[in-house]
């Protein structure tokens, strides 16, 4: 029982981060059909900027706010300087553009910061909580609560604000949205800004547990992409659920089978699922028009 609970919490904690990255992928994809492989770099920026601002003497909440601002600015620049000029390019070209951006951001981070691993102090102490004999880090609860709050906040925004409805309208049909007077360029920029902020918050929350460095973004982007695809690309509920499921599977595979192939779990799962269900778990069937 203790082991089960332990693995469950470990899995949910990493799963929550995957879910946030997948959610970022989904948001940008919905608004623009762009798969943004730089999504993982927002998580890296969130963690790294907070660490360096905190070490420079800023209080933690301010450092975190600064990190989110830096990530959002990076997201907006990425949209303005790379995605918008490449408008109308093929899927593969856009993928390469965003991967180029992620190499660029990582390269800059390596110069501005350094190549070391960094930690943040846990928000409410390191004393583990006891639950059914398992030791749960309080920071895990921060990650879960933070991810939950983000998902709920995003849902409120999408369902109950005019701007959120504009995003959904753009996702549903870009031309129709433009015809009813929605400025889809602003919507797109907004999608990049929000997904950057989501990624950064994920990075800040998880850094006390997993540490961070300039290079953590790549594997997160790849796993987040796998999660987004697993849920059926463009489906936010699917993205969040798949992120959590991948985190859990990874934790249980590491705990019960072997930790060597932990990083392969997400990709093995996506391969197996896609072989059986070519549209992802919750995706709709697309029909090709001739």
């Amino acid at each position: 029982m203790a082991e089960l609970v332990q693995l469950l919490f470990a899995g949910l904690t990493t799963g929550a981060v995957y879910a946030l990255v997948a959610l970022g992928f989904t948001l940008v994809f919905q608004a623009s059909e762009v798969v943004n492989f730089a999504q993982g770099e927002f998580v890296m920026l969130g963690g790294m900027v907070t660490v360096f601002a905190f070490e420079a003497g800023l209080p933690l909440p301010l450092a975190a706010a600064l990190a989110i601002a830096v990530a959002v600015a990076t997201g907006l620049l990425l949209h303005r300087l790379a995605i918008e000029p490449a408008k109308g390019a093929t899927v593969v070209t856009l993928i390469i553009v965003t991967i180029g951006a992620s190499i660029l951001i990582r390269g800059l981070a390596q110069i501005v910061f350094d190549k070391q691993f960094h930690a943040l102090p846990a928000f409410s102490g390191d004393e583990p909580l006891r639950l059914f004999g398992a030791a749960i880090l309080p920071q895990s609860l921060w990650v879960l609560a933070g991810a939950g709050a983000i998902v709920f906040g995003l849902w409120l925004f999408m369902e109950h604000t005019l701007l959120g409805k504009a995003v959904r309208a753009t996702a549903a049909n870009r031309l129709a949205a433009e015809l009813v007077g929605i400025d889809t360029r602003i919507v797109l920029a907004l999608a990049f800004a929000i997904s950057a902020a989501i990624g950064a918050v994920g990075g800040i929350l998880v850094t006390p547990i997993t540490l961070t460095s300039y290079a953590v973004g790549t594997i997160l982007a790849l796993k987040g992409f796998a999660a987004a695809m697993l849920g059926g690309i463009g489906n936010p509920v699917g993205a969040v659920l798949s992120g959590l499921v991948l985190g859990l599977l990874e934790a249980f595979a590491a705990g019960w089978i072997s930790s060597t192939y932990k990083d392969g779990v997400a990709f093995l799962v996506i391969l197996l699922v896609l072989l059986a269900m070519p549209q992802g778990l919750l995706g709709r069937r697309a029909v090709e028009r001739v």
Binding site: I96, G100, L275
Partner: protein, 315 residues
């Protein structure tokens, strides 16, 4: 197709010329080494160009096949006591068989689903190479024995320059022939519309599989050549970034263009060598250049230049 024949003549005429000129212009061993790397990467990029350009299918895990070719060449002599060249042959076979087995189900997928499936495949290959330390030597890599042919010890940048160059020439010739064959026409048809192609009787699944297997074998061949030439391989040969480099070579050169694949391979092989001058700015500059190329030369270098030339001729 007239333009197809012209490309064929152009490539088969220009490529040998380039092969002859490079050693005259850049005779230093360092330059010949870099040039040999260009030819090796071009072989892999050629295969991928067939898959992406001709058939319109993307692979974000193609370095996985390169890794299979490279590691087969390294491991055969060590664990099975085989000749390096025979081991490389086994590597090509292994890559082809793997592509054949996973190809049919994977190639049913479209767009981003195909992208994530091939991405996963590549990452799993890379992970096995990193993790099976007793067999593969793990992340530190492994030595590859020197190639000997009938008592001739194959060594030196100049020798490898010619070997890799001739392999590339043969690979390009085969690729051009495929483009012109009935398979090539079928692939172009299914690239435009799979439904329309199947309606006129093209066996879509079979043709996609053929080109996928071929692209995998090309990549494995490049991997094997790299192992023999470099005499040392690490799992990075199969890494995600390598896969992306290969895709970028194809797209930067010009999607679907066989000369483009060679130009793209040259650019992405020489560029990092030149960028080492920038020391720690290397990665940032590489990322920036990739973005600039993709944004401003979207259809690729070779089609872009060809377009400029035709426009000038028309004017």
């Amino acid at each position: 197709m007239a333009s197809g024949t012209r490309t064929k003549l152009l490539v088969l005429g220009a490529l040998p010329l380039v092969l002859l000129l490079v050693p005259l212009l850049f005779p230093s061993p360092f330059h010949l080494r870099v040039a040999a790397l260009v030819w090796i990467n071009a072989v892999a990029a050629l295969g991928l160009a067939l898959l992406m350009g001709l058939a319109g299918q993307v692979s974000l895990g193609h370095a996985g096949f390169m890794g299979i070719g490279a590691y087969a060449t390294a491991l055969g002599p060590k664990h099975l006591g085989l000749d390096p060249l025979a081991s490389m042959g086994l590597g090509l076979l292994a890559a082809g068989v793997l592509a054949f087995l996973v190809g049919r189900p994977i190639l049913r997928l479209k767009g981003h689903y195909l992208a994530v499936a091939t991405l996963g495949l590549g990452i799993l290959v890379h992970l096995v190479l990193v993790s099976e330390v007793p067999v593969t030597g793990g992340p530190d890599g492994i030595q590859v024995p020197r190639l000997e042919l009938l008592g001739w010890r194959v060594a030196g940048p100049a020798t490898w320059y010619w070997i890799t160059g001739i392999v590339l020439l043969l690979a390009a010739w085969l690729a051009l022939n495929l483009e012109d064959s009935s398979t090539g026409r079928a692939l172009r048809a299914l690239h435009d519309s799979e439904v329309a192609a199947s309606v006129v009787g093209v066996d879509v699944a079979r043709h996609k599989l053929v080109v996928f297997v071929m692209a995998a074998v090309y990549a494995a061949l490049a991997g094997g050549l790299f192992a023999l030439f470099n005499r040392f391989v690490t799992p990075e040969v199969a890494g995600f970034l390598r896969s992306i480099e290969l895709v970028t070579m194809v797209v930067i050169g010009g999607m679907g263009s066989i000369p483009g694949a060679v130009v793209g391979a040259a650019l992405l092989t020489v560029l990092p060598q030149a960028l080492t001058l920038f020391h720690e700015y290397e990665h940032a500059v590489l990322g920036l250049l990739i973005i600039l190329f993709m944004v401003f030369l979207r259809q690729g270098i070779v089609p872009g230049i060809a377009g400029l030339l035709t426009r000038r001729r028309a004017a």
